[in-house]
């Protein structure tokens, strides 16, 4: 059977129900056994402004949002004009019948959205469009109907109206005899998969890790973590507080962790900037904590609803002075789940802040994830002292690994967690000897972090051309490497999942005799490239993008193609 790979883009105004439409369409495809990868863009304002939902659905793995939409479903003239240039040549356009269809650029089909939806209350044009597109791609009707039943079944009237609108679109498409040709594939034998966003996966990972305290302040694009945990964490004996600002959030997390609870906060750049001083404090007093930074375009307010990977250097260095911390960067929605458990494990084991770097594209991306294996990343806990053998307890005793057992309030082993430089017992001490000894003790822990296992390599290891990426860009890079290999242009790829400490050994091996190494990242400064230069002394070539959008596979292919040919 030929493989299916279809990119659908829905475009309209805020208030048109584009998100619901996109989510329903994708869910139907995943229920049919397909893979999915989504990308959304939306205005910062709640009403008005453009909303775009791009869904790529494939019979094999879906690793990027797709370079161009094959099908554009536009709700008004402005959106049609804006997105038409992106359309795959010969692609299909669905447009509201009130708008004159475009003269060229693809196969245009007019839908009387207003007329068809008028029988089903207000604002159900999105369900009409769902019916049209689902029929056009020959979706399994029963699966879509089941979804409508699940979503609206609790309210008879809502169910009747939404199903009615859906049916009218489906029927219209059938009557017109429209058919895309390539159809959605139905694999009834495929094991059921989860359709999750990055933020949902992070929140679920936190619960699985045993998180018992979360504090946060609303911010795009991290709010869904606060919202989902507010709804669910209390069922697991956890506490969630929405606090007054991000400093309160991290301070509360540190307070909770001090008492022994696994604790996390989640924010984006503006909030993360505010946390700097407390990150240094947590590192200084060796209190475990997990901080999610879902990056967006900065600085300042930047573009709150657009993506960027520009907080990397801030994550590595945030806070005055010098303080150890661990920085992780998941690449996929599945990573978001397992690596959040890793983040807790590392925070607890090494008693320091762990920063999990997501970004808007990953946090809001929906992917079909195979069933979660609960034991894949076993949960690990912090080292606590043996109460019976406390003796003269030294909270931050200098050890070979730098890790010292951490007493819990309510048990013996009282101590002070002081941001002031302190001796092994935690008492203030400013002598050069103490300063040296304790600073080295805190930093020594980093040497024991198994950074080397946090990489993923792909492509041709014998190629003189390499590409390095980190975070949300993995899928587009892997697809680009795959596409070039099919053109006879081999490239070797490496995705870094831990950025601090760096996975030095695999990196050095990867870089060893490469002629050209590119670092692809969504920022202007080439932050990861700078880190590689400062830590490993290697020079790389930049593939940078900082316009608020993720890479497309095609962009990376274009960058690499010339070099691999010459190389």
């Amino acid at each position: 059977m030929a493989s299916t790979d279809i990119v659908v883009r829905f475009a309209g105004e805020a208030g048109d129900g584009i998100m619901t439409l996109g989510d329903m369409f994708v869910k139907a495809c995943v229920r049919m056994g397909m893979s999915a990868f989504t990308f959304r863009s939306y205005p910062t304002e709640v009403r008005g402004g453009s909303v775009m939902y791009q869904a790529r659905v494939t019979s094999g793995p879906a690793m990027s949002q797709g370079d161009r939409p094959d099908i554009l479903a536009a709700f008004n003239k402005k959106e049609m004009s804006a997105h038409l240039p992106d359309l795959t040549p010969g692609g299909s356009i669905f447009i509201d019948a009130q708008v004159a269809p475009p003269a060229m650029g693809g196969k245009a089909m007019s839908i009387p959205l207003v007329e068809l939806s008028s029988h089903f209350g207000d604002d159900r044009k999105n369900m009409v469009m769902l019916g049209v597109v689902a029929r056009y791609l020959e979706a399994n009707e029963a699966i879509v109907r089941n979804l409508l039943q699940e979503r609206y079944g609790k309210r008879d009237e809502a169910l009747r109206l939404n199903v009615g609108a859906f049916e009218s679109g489906w029927k219209h498409c059938a009557e017109m005899g429209w058919r895309y040709g390539q159809r959605l594939s139905l694999d009834a034998s495929a094991p059921p998969r989860l359709l999750l966003s990055g933020n949902e996966a992070i929140a679920l990972g936190a619960i699985a890790a045993g998180c018992k305290f979360f504090a946060g302040y609303p911010i795009t694009p991290a709010s869904e973590i606060l919202e989902y945990l507010s709804e669910t964490l209390p069922r697991f004996g956890g506490k969630v507080l929405q606090v007054e600002d991000e400093m309160a959030a991290l301070a509360a997390v540190i307070g909770a962790s001090f008492t022994g609870a696994k604790a996390m906060t989640a924010t984006s750049g503006p909030g993360f900037s505010l946390m700097g001083e407390l990150i240094g404090y947590a590192s200084m007093v060796e209190v475990p904590c997990v901080i999610v930074d879902s990056q967006r375009v900065g600085p300042s307010t930047g573009i709150p609803t657009a993506t960027e990977q520009s907080d990397l250097l801030l994550s590595v260095y945030a806070s005055h002075g010098e303080s150890p911390r661990i920085v992780l960067a998941p690449s996929t929605v599945e990573d978001c789940f397992y690596m959040t458990i890793e983040a807790f494990n590392l925070a607890e084991e090494y008693q320091m802040p762990v920063i999990l770097l997501s970004d808007l594209a990953l946090s809001h991306r929906m992917e079909a994830v195979p069933t979660i294996e609960m034991g894949r990343v076993p949960v690990r806990n912090r080292l606590i002292p043996d109460e019976t053998a406390l003796g003269e307890y030294r909270r931050v005793k200098v050890t070979d690994t730098g890790v010292s057992p951490m007493a819990v309030p309510g048990q013996n082993g009282m101590y002070a967690a002081m941001g002031i430089e302190h001796d092994e017992r935690g008492f203030p001490s400013y002598t050069p000897e103490t300063r040296l000894k304790m600073t080295e003790k805190r930093f020594r822990k980093l040497a024991y972090v198994e950074a080397d296992k946090f990489v993923r390599t792909f492509g041709d290891p014998d190629s003189p051309t390499g590409i390095i990426g980190w975070g949300s860009t993995e899928g587009a890079i892997m697809e680009a490497v795959d596409r070039l290999s099919k053109e006879g242009l081999p490239v070797h790829g490496m995705q870094l999942k831990m950025l601090w400490p760096l996975p030095v050994n695999p990196l050095m091996k990867f870089l060893e005799w490469k002629k050209n190494v590119f670092v692809a990242e969504l920022n202007r400064a080439g932050q990861c490239a700078r880190l590689l230069r400062s830590e490993l002394g290697v020079s790389t070539k930049a593939i940078d993008k900082f316009v608020g959008l993720p890479f497309t596979t095609g962009e990376i292919v274009e960058h690499l193609r010339g070099v691999t040919r010459d190389g």
Binding site: R193, L241, M247, A263, E277, M418
Partner: protein, 276 residues
């Protein structure tokens, strides 16, 4: 009860005659009376002269960064409600850099005690004007006199929702001990403003000794408006101004947990199933 009381072996770094000594004494005495196990006590502070206080008591101690004692204390209490959690600090720590947390922590009514030693200046940085500095106060940072309206910590605490608000004076240690004891026994957020002169940079002992008056015996501590009137009076009244009952943050979170448990699955597998 701790052997040899709740005082630690550390000797305070405060100047001789500092108002903080009386606050430390009152807190130590309150602990001796209520007798929690020292390892069940968490003392939380930010930065400043007053924030040094936890070091002089036996307990688990969290010395956070400037201004963040209250959210850290709240986090500790919420995570483990069995602990006795006490936050201490000065008026600069609590009302300037930490002012936002003053409002939001007290309004949530966590069961913690917050002891603020108030001297109108930043003693640790050598005497600049602080949020409670009176108009016209001349300090190194206000060489021509303060041009700001001072904050009244007790009045503020009453309006933002603390359920126990009192004002004490280091020059009246007997009353201060009683106040701090009552504050520690209160269920919910208790706030104690201690008029605690900085002997070195802003010695207000003489005027406070003359001006302070104890809260009249007939004052109704359940009456918020009456409490506010006393707090805002020209006369610096000392004593318990407000003492009311309200559900604590922890109790409220428990009711949230009960609702959440009814609303959906309480296993990871169950949650994941909702995404199929």
């Amino acid at each position: 009860m701790a052997e040899g009381g709740y005082r630690s072996e550390l000797k305070p770094v405060w100047c001789e005659g500092c108002g903080n000594y009386a606050a430390l004494d009152a807190l130590a005495k309150a602990l001796e009376t209520t007798k929690p196990r020292p390892q069940d006590v968490v003392l939380v502070a930010g930065i400043g002269c007053g924030s040094r206080l936890p070091g002089y008591l036996k307990a688990f101690r969290l010395h956070t960064v400037h201004g963040r004692a209250l959210p850290a204390a709240m986090g500790a209490k919420v995570a483990n409600p069995a602990l006795t959690v006490i936050a201490v600090g000065g008026d600069g720590d609590g009302l300037a850099i930490g002012g936002n947390h003053f409002l939001h922590t007290l309004k949530r009514n966590p069961h913690i005690l917050y002891l603020m030693t108030d001297n109108g200046v930043y003693g640790m940085t050598r005497g600049q004007a602080s949020p409670t500095a009176g108009p016209g106060l001349t300090t190194k940072s206000t060489p021509y006199g303060s041009i700001e309206t001072p904050v009244d910590p007790a009045a503020l605490a009453i309006t933002v929702g603390a359920t126990f608000v009192a004002r004490g004076f280091s020059g009246n240690p007997r009353q201060l001990r009683q106040i701090v004891l009552n504050a520690l026994l209160h269920k919910g957020s208790s706030f104690v403003q201690v008029l605690s002169p900085c002997i070195t940079f802003h010695n207000t002992y003489p005027e406070l000794k003359q001006n302070t008056k104890e809260v009249p015996a007939e004052h109704d501590k359940k009456d918020k408006l009456a409490a506010l009137k006393l707090a805002w009076s020209e006369i610096p009244y000392t004593g318990v101004l407000l003492d009311i009952e309200a559900p604590t943050l922890h109790e409220l979170l428990d009711s949230v947990a009960a609702k959440a448990t009814k609303a959906g699955p309480n296993t990871i597998e169950g949650l994941l199933q909702e995404f199929v």
